[in-house]
């Protein structure tokens, strides 16, 4: 539970920092996504993905066996049962975990597999036959210029538009914000609890780690939730040129990219 949890705790922070690059402009987030996909050979990329999925599987397996054992240990429950000091988060790890699992499945289907039926990926897809965002590619932009490789324009997914279009759907945003809120709760217990499970905690450090767990949970929650909120309030916008506009100026960019 603790060791798989640690991997996921670290992944969540990396994922959040990666996502926040959307505020640096469409070209930056698109370049980041391009880098994630091309930094490693595809076999290594799949290895990383499988390790992460495997970690979730281990975490889930540990949770299920622990729950079953614990149910067996108390076959007759109390008529009256009072909680003295256990936090709400610690007592609802199972529920927050189950909802988070459902969210992760949806999230991967939405943004990684890009196959959530009924998801409208906005105007530029209308002309495409498949209606899926994976068909939409934009030039890879670096320092305001289109990156060329062997004389050809390098294209990449328009991650910026994918995120903005996704979060424009109100229930996607709502689910996302609720899920990250539950993730915050899950972390306020889990972050500190994992130290206890491996024996690296005492009375003094319990207080510090509990505070750190709350801070970590809130940072993760705010870091993730600010993106759908920014989309809903119109702070983040679609950019069908993948960031050329904001860099070079509208007319020049559009002419430029179309001429090529």
């Amino acid at each position: 539970m603790a060791l798989s949890g640690l991997t996921l705790v670290l992944f969540v922070m990396g994922h959040m920092l990666g996502n926040l690059q959307i505020f640096l402009g469409p070209d930056v987030i698109n370049a980041y996504a391009y880098k994630l996909h091309h930094l490693l050979p595809s076999s290594a990329l799949w290895a990383v993905r499988l390790v992460l999925l495997g970690t979730i599987a281990v975490h889930l397996w540990a949770a299920v066996t622990l729950t079953l054992d614990n149910r067996k240990a108390r076959p007759h429950s109390y008529q009256e049962d009072k909680v003295v000091q256990a936090s709400y988060s610690s007592r609802t790890m199972r529920m927050s975990g189950i909802i988070l699992l459902a969210f992760i499945i949806f999230h991967i289907a939405h943004f990684t597999v890009r196959a959530v039926p009924g998801m409208q990926y906005e105007s530029e897809i209308e002309s495409k036959e498949s209606g899926r965002l994976e068909m939409v590619k934009v030039p890879l932009v670096k320092n305001g210029e289109v990156v060329l490789k062997n004389g050809h324009e390098v294209t990449t997914f328009n991650v910026n538009d994918m995120m903005v279009a996704g979060f424009k759907v109100w229930w996607v945003s709502a689910f996302y914000i609720i899920a990250t809120g539950l993730l915050c709760m899950h972390l306020t217990h889990g972050f500190s609890s994992m130290f206890q499970s491996v024996g690296l905690r005492n009375g003094l450090w319990r207080k510090r780690l509990d505070r750190a767990a709350h801070a970590y949970g809130w940072v993760v929650f705010l870091g993730f939730a600010i993106i759908p909120i920014s989309v809903m309030t119109g702070l983040l916008k679609m950019d069908s040129t993948g960031g050329l506009v904001s860099q070079v100026g509208e007319t020049a960019a559009i002419t430029d990219s179309f001429e090529k």
């Binding site: 622990l66 054992d69 614990n70 067996k72 240990a73 108390r74 076959p75 007759h76 429950s77 109390y78 008529q79 009256e80 049962d81 009072k82 909680v83 003295v84 000091q85 256990a86 936090s87 610690s90 007592r91 790890m93 217990h189 500190s192 609890s193 206890q196 499970s197 491996v198 024996g199 690296l200 905690r201 005492n202 009375g203 319990r206």
Partner: protein, 257 residues
Amino acid sequence: MEKTMDLTLKVWRQKSANSTGTFETYGVKDVSEGSSFLEMLDTLSEDLVEKGKEPVAFDHDCREGICGSCSMTINGIPHGPEKATTACQLHMRHFHDGQTITIEPWRAKPFPVIKDLVVDRSPFDRIIQSGGFITSRAGSAVDANAIPINKATADYAMDAAACIGCGACVAACPNASAMLFTGAKASHMNSLPQGKAEKDRRTLAMVTTMDGEGFGGCTNVGECEAACPKSISLDMIAQLNRDYATAQLKNFFKPVA
């Protein structure tokens, strides 16, 4: 004049281990607020005997909070609402006139009910037994302070040794886990120089026995610490986890037992 109160008690009654129990409701009158919870139950039992009924069975011995016999969940909290207090040391002034009090036995699969509020806590004995011996010089008594132990270590071991083995930790745990008890008993010996020699073997054996008895797993919620009449700290569980991990690692390369 001393205040008295009238109470309604909902008590778990169960004839034997094999029968199915049920809650019975009784009224007790003129309970002195200076009496202990067990004395209040004594007056109930006297009433019941007078009426020709079976008195309520519950474990008790020293009645001064050090034997660990009394074991009842009072209004959903093992040993009742007062912090660091056994049921026998719980005074009735913490309750009020007209209150309804629910009294249940410990609820855990390894602690089957024998009768009414009495449960079988022998799994705890078996956990301690599996811890085994310590290497100590037999024969004439060793001089006091022959082995230097620093104050912090001695205090820590004493805090662990304060565990009276009542089982409130198991009763309070949402998972019926015995980690606080086992942690206290193992840490008591593991932290002292006299117990160091068998530390790894002891830790592995006690955890294996604990798991085998059917206790649940720890989810670090901390209810055990809150219910413990001796304020045993969650640090004991952390140490058990630490000692267990170390022992497993050593055992992987070279069997410790």
